[in-house]
Symmetry: D3
Subunit: 318 residues, 6 copies
Amino acid sequence: MSIIRSLNHQDEFVGFYLLKELEVKQTNGTPAKDYFDIVLCDSSGQISAKYWDVTTTDKETFFPMGLVKIQGIAHTYREKLQVKITKIRKANDDDGITLTDFIRSAPVLPVDLVYIIKQVLENITDVEIKKIVTYCVSKVEEKLMHYPAAKTHHHAYFAGLAYHMVRMLEIGNFICKQRPFLNADLLKAGIILHDIAKPEEMIAQMGIVSDYSVHGKLIGHIAMASSWITEAAIRCDIDLQSERVLALQHLVLSHHNLGEWGSPVQPQTAEAVALHHIDALDAKLQMVEDAIDVLPDTENWTPLIRGLENKPVYRMKW
Amino acid sequence: MSIIRSLNHQDEFVGFYLLKELEVKQTNGTPAKDYFDIVLCDSSGQISAKYWDVTTTDKETFFPMGLVKIQGIAHTYREKLQVKITKIRKANDDDGITLTDFIRSAPVLPVDLVYIIKQVLENITDVEIKKIVTYCVSKVEEKLMHYPAAKTHHHAYFAGLAYHMVRMLEIGNFICKQRPFLNADLLKAGIILHDIAKPEEMIAQMGIVSDYSVHGKLIGHIAMASSWITEAAIRCDIDLQSERVLALQHLVLSHHNLGEWGSPVQPQTAEAVALHHIDALDAKLQMVEDAIDVLPDTENWTPLIRGLENKPVYRMKW
Amino acid sequence: MSIIRSLNHQDEFVGFYLLKELEVKQTNGTPAKDYFDIVLCDSSGQISAKYWDVTTTDKETFFPMGLVKIQGIAHTYREKLQVKITKIRKANDDDGITLTDFIRSAPVLPVDLVYIIKQVLENITDVEIKKIVTYCVSKVEEKLMHYPAAKTHHHAYFAGLAYHMVRMLEIGNFICKQRPFLNADLLKAGIILHDIAKPEEMIAQMGIVSDYSVHGKLIGHIAMASSWITEAAIRCDIDLQSERVLALQHLVLSHHNLGEWGSPVQPQTAEAVALHHIDALDAKLQMVEDAIDVLPDTENWTPLIRGLENKPVYRMKW
Amino acid sequence: MSIIRSLNHQDEFVGFYLLKELEVKQTNGTPAKDYFDIVLCDSSGQISAKYWDVTTTDKETFFPMGLVKIQGIAHTYREKLQVKITKIRKANDDDGITLTDFIRSAPVLPVDLVYIIKQVLENITDVEIKKIVTYCVSKVEEKLMHYPAAKTHHHAYFAGLAYHMVRMLEIGNFICKQRPFLNADLLKAGIILHDIAKPEEMIAQMGIVSDYSVHGKLIGHIAMASSWITEAAIRCDIDLQSERVLALQHLVLSHHNLGEWGSPVQPQTAEAVALHHIDALDAKLQMVEDAIDVLPDTENWTPLIRGLENKPVYRMKW
Amino acid sequence: MSIIRSLNHQDEFVGFYLLKELEVKQTNGTPAKDYFDIVLCDSSGQISAKYWDVTTTDKETFFPMGLVKIQGIAHTYREKLQVKITKIRKANDDDGITLTDFIRSAPVLPVDLVYIIKQVLENITDVEIKKIVTYCVSKVEEKLMHYPAAKTHHHAYFAGLAYHMVRMLEIGNFICKQRPFLNADLLKAGIILHDIAKPEEMIAQMGIVSDYSVHGKLIGHIAMASSWITEAAIRCDIDLQSERVLALQHLVLSHHNLGEWGSPVQPQTAEAVALHHIDALDAKLQMVEDAIDVLPDTENWTPLIRGLENKPVYRMKW
Amino acid sequence: MSIIRSLNHQDEFVGFYLLKELEVKQTNGTPAKDYFDIVLCDSSGQISAKYWDVTTTDKETFFPMGLVKIQGIAHTYREKLQVKITKIRKANDDDGITLTDFIRSAPVLPVDLVYIIKQVLENITDVEIKKIVTYCVSKVEEKLMHYPAAKTHHHAYFAGLAYHMVRMLEIGNFICKQRPFLNADLLKAGIILHDIAKPEEMIAQMGIVSDYSVHGKLIGHIAMASSWITEAAIRCDIDLQSERVLALQHLVLSHHNLGEWGSPVQPQTAEAVALHHIDALDAKLQMVEDAIDVLPDTENWTPLIRGLENKPVYRMKW
């Protein structure tokens, strides 16, 4: 079985892959014929593929997100490597493979990520803060096991959201030690809550976001999370006028820093300033790391990265 | 008693006024002497005044927002009319005056404004919407009787907020008739709710905002009102996933139209688009009307109006 | 005859339609063959269509904006419904159809719209204002019967410009009653004049703008209308220094509100502020109404609407 | 008589000066005394001055823009040189001085500047263009003899506007020789017309702008000049549809380049592009030259220059 | 031989051309066939062309930037003229043609441009400035003979950079005469140095930029040229603290005027202000001249010009 | 001796202080009298003070940045605490105090900060990088002992620059461990070099910046540091084309992230992205910490902080 990243022009190969995208298209000839325009992927990357002369049975057999066994040949077309599929069949139970082997994931197991988050949560000493964060996490706990942190921007893969939280918690922990004037409970809570409503903002399967939800478009994860804190306080019998509620809502509402980036208020507590900059540091570095990770050895420039002012990143040669 | 707007250079006069602002200052001479730097106002406008040779007793007698009887003389100083106070005493019960006679107010009685708002509320046909709006209004009902709509921008006077709501409801009513595809319940609810949290965002007395509250600075009236809708839904046993809750929160969250103006999401329902533009139309026209209202007959240009791109407005001569 | 909005996958149908767009293209095969890439429309909407195996005669027979009778079949291609035309012939006099049956129009008859505008004009009491507006309207009266208000933004259909004027006049009338300090003559005149030069700025047929004119690109409708007022004053023997001329030119020049939106000066009279916001209210709501009007029943989100910060609009499900 | 630029700390002097500004102020002592807060100027610069113990007669004798003979002493106050006036009297006919000796002027005589402009005008070969430019120049010919080009930005002195035109005509002449594809008639006409309405936009005396006119604020010199071209064409019996009228209006309307700088359209002819950049080159360099001109020899940095992104300019030491 | 600009629909022709671009593509038919998607050019312009039924030999014979003899037919496809190639062969020595006959060039011979630049350099009187400029020019002297000034913006052709310098030197010379307060040595040096590092910022062949270099992307020509001045000063034993070094680095660093256009500091010397505006004037006018130069006689509007706010330019009809 | 932060209304006190600012001003009375307008400071904060009835000897005795012994009384004036000085004398050697006791400093000794930086430098493994950084540090080593990091923005105190470097090195060290794909040598070098030219950009004494230098204004610390790297490479015989030189210059040039913030190129290596965000995180948190540090216990809001979008920061009450 061939790893996608290792394919070269003229390689013939056989292996199992995920049909990440599949569209039935028609040739321009007369009569027009159906063909499959496919994106194949495995955990190492993805590649465009074509399957010509599609039959009616094929169209009823193969669908996006299905696992298949393929025989194909790689060739360069318009300066890009592409696969011409010569044989294709659905994977079956005997093949002993599972979907999660084929998608991009956080480098730590989801179960471990969620465990770490819960440990941090457990160690929050302020009772009100702990209750509110616990309530909010419980609303999305199942989705935390697999949701990405964004559609394309950063951590856009299986369990990317939990991975983003955990890495930020590590940085937050360091910063709190370096600067003891920060309230560690608040900063940890802010890190866990800041993107907590993302699983309700986006519709995702297997770490891939297909669209934003209606609530995502009309309310957004920032205002949603703020409302969840209100809901949590009511359900946990915490006074809505408590400064803890205020501090947590401020953390969530201000974490995008500017109005044009979606925050209705700007950071105005020490922890809110810290949260925004830790978020930026982790997200931007992850974008770079992810882009370099899938960069072929023969290239030194990544594609344009939207979250970095739409600039590419250069990998030094030494 | 002389109306402030009618004063001219060299007028000597006696009358009752409100000490809107009063600061004890010191002359630069040696020895420095105390004097009062005062802003006098009545319902027709306001004017700067000085009271020289202040005694210790005076300093313990006169404070901002107190009513006084004054004997003074108006004179022009650096191109502006100013008052030199020659005599001053506190008003007493026998004088038969009340504070509200001396402050700028909406042209409709507060009690009538609140009555109109409640009538509209009563006529909302959708049960969930009605319950939520009723709950939110009840949170600030007392303050609706006197709160201004903003610190300086527009409707910055006694009961200005309720007046703004009522005028928008009039326009909204007309627009719903002109465009029946709009959901009138939603639009009315949006008009009543869009600024409903302003009384908690600002600290005001007698229609004058002295500052923003801590909640106002850290959360803002937009996110506050959105959380109130969550609270209302929980208290009234309405499903938080109801499209009514979604629609109302969207109206509130999007009514400033752009991120840089404080809205975390942009209007994406017909009623949200209508709400933003009715709000703008009413607020901008009121700024103009208020500025022209206090413009002396001898002038044609108002002062710069911040909400109008910091431009003045010209009153035609015919 | 099938209405375009009601077509479904696999529907076979016969009917009369307008060839809104028609291009001769060539298949990629060898030898390349000509085919027609067509946009069909009727008053309910429009749809993409193909007619394969085009003959030389066909190419001399069918042109854009022609009426035709078609036999076709609807099918879904790349997630969009499309028509494959199986037979096509030109419509003839016996078919008893006219072009205007097939294009999108304002919901009020053009003749009625122009009548209403003239009624309003008739009721302007100020003689100078009335003369100037009358002169300007007479320059484009014929085009007012059919011109759209914009290329794509809003009211982009037959008589859309006149419809926009009439609706704004309705709102203006209401606002003048609500706020008597406004000069009703000026506001009405501003509403009629603000877009009066659009028919010279754009080249349109049947309510569809094909391009901007040279004058449109180099001068723009705003400066054009301002010059027309100068021209009108000269032709009607009105003093160019009259404050009426000034007020009308200011209304026209400032109605886009900001320099970056094309206004060389910002609104600085009460009526100019009113005009801009009434224009915005009517144009934005019409964009929404038009987008929802053609939204298939099965969908809840309109396409992106450029004039609404490029956001789509959501139609509530209840 | 001492030149203002040459004054030093402790200099006693006698001489004639212009009272550029004069305000009656009052000391803070008790009793308050009147004094004159004055700005003295001569052709070399200006300086702040005080005249203490003002009498009633003084207040009826001395006014802004009057010429006076002064005895005074220069002294440094808060790091700035200032004059204490010890004697003052009005200049009289026997003194043999005139106002224009005391104000900042273009370095070429106004009569010569206007002569040059008229020579250029005379040499325009296109008949329509020549007629229109001639008509527009005749509207402001008298004011061209003394008007500045701006309130503070650049060429803010006696005949500054005409000087700006003449210098631009020199550059324009060179550029037309360097790039023969440019239409020299159009470019010259554009240079003469682009700021031609400034004398009606601003209220100025002796090269000093006191304010913008009502027309200046509500219409602006750009739209005004465009209307003057319409007026000129009508008065000279030139077809309003002539491409000459179009080209000239485009030059005027687009010369500020961007909407946010006041141009409703952007330059879209070769000559319009040239006009904008020649205007910028001349205006910016003149700001620099003027600022360096009045820079004391002991300093190397000018004050902040608003038209240069609010930066100061450094004069090299060699 | 047919000039590309003179081709019309249905013209059959034979001639020599440059294969500016050549890509092997495949038809969508089954089986897919290879064809060449080509951009042909000569000194008059360029045109899209197709060569169908490509053989294996063809694919080994024809490459981008090769000279060929072609037999073809022009035809209109999707409103654009296109060439169908019927015969093609490589040009050989006997054909007596050279590459430079087929590419767009500055209208002055490169050798003459470089000679002029060196003459100017020779006439710089300040010794330090002359040494530094000489050193920097020597770093790129060979490339000055052919490099364009930009990728697409302006002077994007053979020797465009040297042409840009020479034209700016002409304007600079005129401006220094008009305004003697400018330091002519500095301005000339600034003109020669401002874009001197462009040949290291971009990778170009035959006047066509294929990409930016790694140094170009990570450092940019502005900071590069600034470092070259440091290098020059060290190599020529000039004190790095010399005001000449300072003045030259400031000229280079500030010539894009604003931070968002790439300048880390804004112009703050007279010569820096002059440099920026002379650069803008020459670059913008050249964009216009180049666009009009290749505009077919039948059209009056050029394509959109990115450097002119993405506007097209109109060529007057008279 | 009284600590400034502990003063209250009506406190009489005696103690040693630094005259941070001292200006001779004049009362407005007649005759005007001289007085000192003073800013007193000690390590706990600063306060405004007046010394009335100044003698000629006083004016020759007291100057800014001098140490004095004072007897005074604190009183509230216009809502601010102020000191009226009743006695003042210069401090002398017998008083046993030194200037550094009275100014705000980094919380770590300068000598220790520089030691840490040198340790890090010592541990850079790449030879070229180490040489270049060592060369650049040696240029400002003496100033590193006391320079602030900025004029007002952040770390604006004695040795603030070195403190900023050291704290960033701590964060950088952590991030390199968390993300091993980062080149630790490069990131450390970037942290040390990014602001290395600030001591030449600003003129500072005792940790207080009085102005920017001429080089600071015309070149800026970013381009200066880039040139220093060129200089270092030449002096250390390192090839200017080395990728190390490229990488270091890119780090320095891009660290302000955006053109409008002064960076001519945007971060396009992993380490450059890390550098910018670590810089932001440390600088912003330090602004907050410094502001809260000097916040009186009775207040919860700091003053507006320019570097935080001009927002104040709120200190929670619990």
